[in-house]
Symmetry: C2
């Protein structure tokens, strides 16, 4: 049907980073999540990128997410990021980290907001919804991300991405 799944937030816990290691987490009484959460499913969709990842998100400050993006960049996935300048200035680090490794980032410098929160993975999967890529949005807010594979929908968002990418050229 073109709908892969819908993720709702908040998650009750952030994912345990020890689960990325061989052997998993050995901390007694670890307070982080060891089971799948909306965030881990979200990260798994991003991490599945093999060629292209186009990101168009108002606020990006979540290190679990930016770690996946940086990892994809190291593996050779071609990444482009559009964000909003109001947010990029307050957030600093994640956008700075992307730029530092050579991921191209363009910003809406107008007083209006580039308020989208979508990403297109290999021209094949669209993530879209209310969810900004922040920590508060994961364990605090009520949010949604729809994961879609409909070709016509993805084409409409890809066209919009390309248009904004040109519009926000320096």
């Amino acid at each position: 049907s073109g709908v892969v799944e819908t993720l709702f937030f908040p998650d009750s816990k952030l994912p345990c980073r020890n689960m990325r290691k061989p052997g998993g987490c050995r901390r007694p009484h670890c307070e982080f999540a060891h089971e799948p959460t909306s965030l881990t499913r979200f990260l798994a969709h991003l991490a599945a990128a093999t060629r292209h990842l186009d990101i168009c998100v108002f606020t990006i400050t979540n290190d679990d997410i930016s770690d996946v993006v940086l990892d994809l960049h190291r593996k050779g996935v071609k990444i482009r990021v559009i964000t909003d300048n109001d947010q990029a200035q307050t957030q600093g680090s994640d956008i700075d980290k992307f730029r530092a490794v050579g991921i191209p980032v363009r910003q809406d410098r107008s007083p209006a907001h580039m308020h989208h929160k979508f990403a297109i993975i290999d021209g094949r999967v669209l993530l879209n919804g209310s969810f900004n890529w922040t920590r508060q949005a994961v364990t605090g807010n009520n949010e949604n991300v729809t994961v879609m594979s409909d070709a016509r929908l993805i084409s409409a968002f890809q066209t919009q991405f390309n248009k904004l990418w040109e519009a926000f050229k320096q």
Copy 2:
């Protein structure tokens, strides 16, 4: 495919309210839109409701939109509204207008945000995306609304709506 259409904002103009009247607009050099815009298509989806309209939107301050909601209420459509208290207090008027005519409104009074921006029309069509129901979002921001008819997707959002409706009971 379950995807009806995607609406992108900003619109270059707000819709001309004279177009609602018989005979349309007779203002010379009218600066408002007389042709379809993303907002008029958005409004047409809302206005098509005949039985139920469930609204779950962070900020609601756009009078073109609230006029349609109030009109549906007068025609007997059963409407429920979930919004965020931070926004409902600053915005005042539209939420107050809904309450004044007897439309039930529930608010997230927690410090976190009820950040969704979706509506379900007759259990048949879902509007969802980055778009808050404000004036700035129409003619200022870059925003999207996906219009979806996929039954499984709508069921997931309806379940989420019902859960939040119970959670935000006074």
